[in-house]
């Protein structure tokens, strides 16, 4: 955008891009862009959810067995962690909107990042690492077990693919949050202009919602509890 800066003669609010006529237009474009991106993401995960559901129907027994190998308590903890992080993300946006100090905004952002990192840490240390030791990762560390029907391997494939892709989105989210912290520290946002915060928030909530679907699909509906 810097090369265009010379072309804009009159002064603009910070963050205003040359191709737009008004700041309002820019705000709407940014929000619409993120929503369209999220639609793409839904289809992206959708392909995998569809495959998962079809294979679950085909290999019900194995998928139930496989889900018993997962650690529900960490899954549940992580669900709570992510929901909290969505709350702090929303608080960060709200603070920017109401013109709170940049310390407050940065504080909320950092707590969000901390919660996101906690999620990843729990997942890595207590779930994936344990799976690795037990030989439950197909293609990487797989110890065939007589107790397992062949379909369990497929369940674990989907488990790692889906949670892995989700974790990748979390890592991207943490990167975005880091940028936001730096931008906030450099006074780029105000109660008039805080759109990057807002659309990053959309992304963060989306990643959260994907987990809200993954958790019951992978951990809970395996007949572990009566009535499910």
């Amino acid at each position: 955008m810097s090369e265009m800066a010379a072309h804009t003669p009159h002064s603009h609010p910070p963050g205003f891009a040359h191709q737009f006529e008004t700041i309002e237009q820019q705000r709407e474009a940014g929000t619409l862009g993120m929503w369209v991106f999220l639609v793409t993401e839904i289809l992206f995960f959708g392909g995998m959810f569809t495959s998962y559901i079809i294979y679950r129907a085909l290999h019900l027994q194995s998928f139930i067995e496989g889900s018993h190998d997962l650690f529900v308590k960490f899954g549940a903890t992580n669900t709570a962690v992510l929901i909290c992080s969505s709350l702090t993300m929303a608080m960060a946006i709200r603070s920017a909107q109401t013109g709170k100090s940049k310390r407050t905004i940065i504080g909320y952002l950092l707590v969000t990042m901390l919660l996101g990192a906690t999620f990843l840490f729990l997942k890595l240390r207590f779930e994936w690492y344990a799976d690795w030791k037990e030989g439950l990762i197909p293609g990487v560390s797989w110890i065939p077990s007589a107790a397992h029907t062949p379909g369990v391997k497929m369940f674990m494939c989907f488990y790692f693919f889906m949670t892995g892709l989700h974790a990748l989105h979390m890592v991207v989210g943490l990167g975005i949050l880091t940028v936001l912290v730096i931008m906030t520290a450099r006074n780029r946002f105000s109660s008039q202009y805080y759109q990057p915060l807002e659309i990053s928030g959309l992304y963060w909530h989306f990643v959260d919602i994907v987990w809200i679907f993954l958790f019951p699909l992978l951990y809970l509906i395996g007949g572990r509890y009566p009535g499910s």
Partner: protein, 554 residues
Amino acid sequence: MSTATVDLREAPIESSVNYLNARYGIKSWLLTLDHKRIGLLYLGTITFMFFVGGTAAVLMRLHLIEPQGALFEPETYNKMFSTHGIIMVFFFLVPSIPATLGNFLIPLMIGARDVAFPKLNLMSWYIFVTGCCFAMYGVISGGVDTGWTFYPPYSSAYSQTHVIAFALGIFIAGFSSILTGLNFVVTIHKMRCPGMTWFRLPLFIWSMYATSLIFVLGTPVIAITLALLAAERLLHVGIFDPAVGGDPLLFQHLFWFYSHPAVYIMILPGMGVISELITAFSRKKIFGYTFVAFSSLAIAVISFIVWGHHMFVTGQSIYAGLVFSVLSFVVAIPSAIKVFNWMATLYRGSISYEAPMLYALGFIGLFTIGGLTGLFLASLATDVHLNGTYFVVAHFHYIMVGGAVMAYLGGIHFWWPKITGRLYPDYWARIAAAIVFIGFNLTFFPQFMLGYLGMPRRYAMYPSEFQVLNVMSSAGASILGIGYLIPLVYLIWSMRYGPVASANPWKAKGLEWTTASPPPTENFAEIPVVNEDAYNYPVAEPRHYPDAPGVARV
């Protein structure tokens, strides 16, 4: 008309600052955020990919001159057709019109300074080039032999070739498509200039909008499907391979859920270009604007629910077959509506025959044949016989090459003066258009006959009774190849030696013709204000039929 006005229009534009001469140097291109320059970056990239894929096609056709195969081992032949398919579909046809003409024209046509997200736009090109690099690595390091459809378990467990490099290339290029589509959707929604209402948009914009929807909704599905395929191949885990409990048909469902709409990614922008060309060269308002516009959207929507017609002979249930068959007939209707509206636009027009118009008329004819032969494949009973034969090959080449590539070339010629500020030699352009038309028909018409006779596609050798038709097809392919080389030569020539073009050499309507050729970096000196419908060409005073709807008298 005073001479002063004419002089102004014909005035050389060399002296003025435009997007091409605003800045110089390789860096000014590689770091550009200008949608017009990014469009040209895409043009260069896909032209290269087109000739890579085209070379493979010509070699294939030469090989098939003899029943036993004239040139290669079967393995090499298999790599040829796979490379041809993958490169042409994912690295040429899908980005062809959207990424070049779309990028160049959308902001110009809707009266904007740029697309909504210029940085994202440049990033899309880099992502696309990365994808191309993976594909080219695959080509150079030995190729792939799975066909462009990558059906498992062959692709995941049996093929010894570079499946992963190509799958990764397509995966990456897919994100370029997604981001381009996203950019276009937002641009068309939010960047229109004052007065440019939805129903004043040029039809090219409507078709690009429909295409972008498919980009955004379809591409992620193929991305995840190919990722799963690569994971299965790399880690030897069972997802699609029945030997480990997978379902190979699930891959086909997911693959065609994208790849059928992808067919419309290729043809919809072509239809948009044709609407522009037909109106400009007959100097007429498009006939049935709303019908043409909404038929694009209808095609985009219905295209997502017809994928099963690729799978009529896989043993899917009869009921699924019936549903997909009826939907496939339904998707044919909007295309028919477009063809009839284009014809009605010609009626009582003032038609001239510069090269772009020749391509446009060729498009209508070839697309008609391509579309009608689609009915053979939508009909369950005949599809059983024709599925997997050369009939299918001929059918989709009539759409993809006879349709999409003709429209692409027509569009490139039509907007070439706007893009480069130079005129190409129209005489050579007309000759090239005629050669392409003749070569194309000679190549692909015999393939319809071959298909009905039962020759399966992807055969490196074939029973000798099919030889005559194969030789005809190969002869056509060499003519077609020459037809594609001629524009490459004179278009490059014209960039330096062509006569300087005026702002509006065709006297066409549309905002892109109101600015200079080539346009300035920010497109317009002042953001335009629109107060008329699209294609509002001057009309004569009605004389004989003051009130009657003129066309009803055909």
